[in-house]
Subunit: 187 residues, 2 copies
């Protein structure tokens, strides 16, 4: 295979697409992000990175709570809108039907098949981004999207993101079983 | 929609699948991980979370360098194997053809369509995991997998991961244009 050196500002392929929710200036606000990953197993924690200029950051700092909402493809336009328009300019609190669990500053989106709410644990200050680390304290899923009590991606119609080409993609067919397919190589 | 409260140890859907590479005890070693995201725009940084018990962690701590390798589906079994078997028990340095760029302790996999090498910037100590934050200092891609000089997911045959069902999935068809589809809602 022939390798070429490319720009080091390289993306992760593919990225999940979520709506990060927080209460900013008294109103629920949502930002579309792809820079998110689980980071601790027990207690369950997630980290998400937001550019420092974003409006959402101040709400997370103030209330130390945020939500993570996984939109299905029927919400693609609204999700993309939440990445195009800042809460500084437009009120996004009416875009979705909201509900709250135990964390009253972590607005969750009823139309999303999977949502969870986090307590802020730590903020890692990076040069251009704030990395918010939160403990997942409650999670809710659409009943119809569960298999054996856990979310089933085949039922959620989620989509993924790639950059810098800026495309959303559906999830494809099954490619194999994890922690199993490699057993054929154990010798 | 009818929401049900589920176990808060909830996953991100879907997760990318990469092989994290490091030199441990003088040998290249690779671990399959899905807990990875970009975290800083400029300079480009990535964060990846590894359970503290993993063999790879000590190599990253010692040399302060690591690689991130995106396997195509033809490497699915080998990738899964790298998640099943610890470098403590099996030498994984011969599984792939390796090459090195400027960072001599960041082994990259020739068979992967996209790879990059990182200098360690910070380790965030979490209760059960080490969160390694690295600056991406060099990236290489297969020439045949580029479109306009950037990696093209439609050409790379990557796969994704879901847990706790432990399935790998292909990437599906295009679902829309990011930073564009939501313009219809701008009023």
């Amino acid at each position: 295979m022939a390798k070429t050196k490319i720009d080091s500002n390289v993306s992760i392929y593919p990225m999940p697409v979520v709506l990060a929710g927080a209460v900013v200036q008294g109103k629920a606000n949502f930002l579309a992000i792809g820079w998110i990953a689980r980071v601790n197993y027990q207690p369950p924690m997630v980290a998400m990175s937001l550019g420092k200029r974003h409006y959402t950051n101040s709400g997370i700092r103030e209330h130390r709570e945020f939500s993570v909402n996984f939109p299905g493809v029927t919400l693609l336009e609204k999700t993309d809108y939440c990445g195009l328009v800042s809460g500084r300019e437009k009120d996004k609190s009416q875009l979705f039907t909201l509900f709250y669990g135990d964390l009253k500053q972590a607005p969750m989106i009823q139309e999303c098949p999977l949502v969870f709410a986090c307590k802020l644990v730590n903020i890692v200050e990076l040069p251009s981004n704030d990395l918010f680390i939160g403990e997942i304290v409650e999670a809710y899923a659409e009943e119809a999207c569960l298999t054996k009590g856990a979310p089933d991606i085949a039922k959620m119609d989620l989509f993924t993101l790639t950059m810098p080409d800026n495309n959303y993609w559906m999830i494809g067919g099954k490619a194999g079983k994890a922690w199993e397919a490699g057993r054929t190589l154990m010798w």
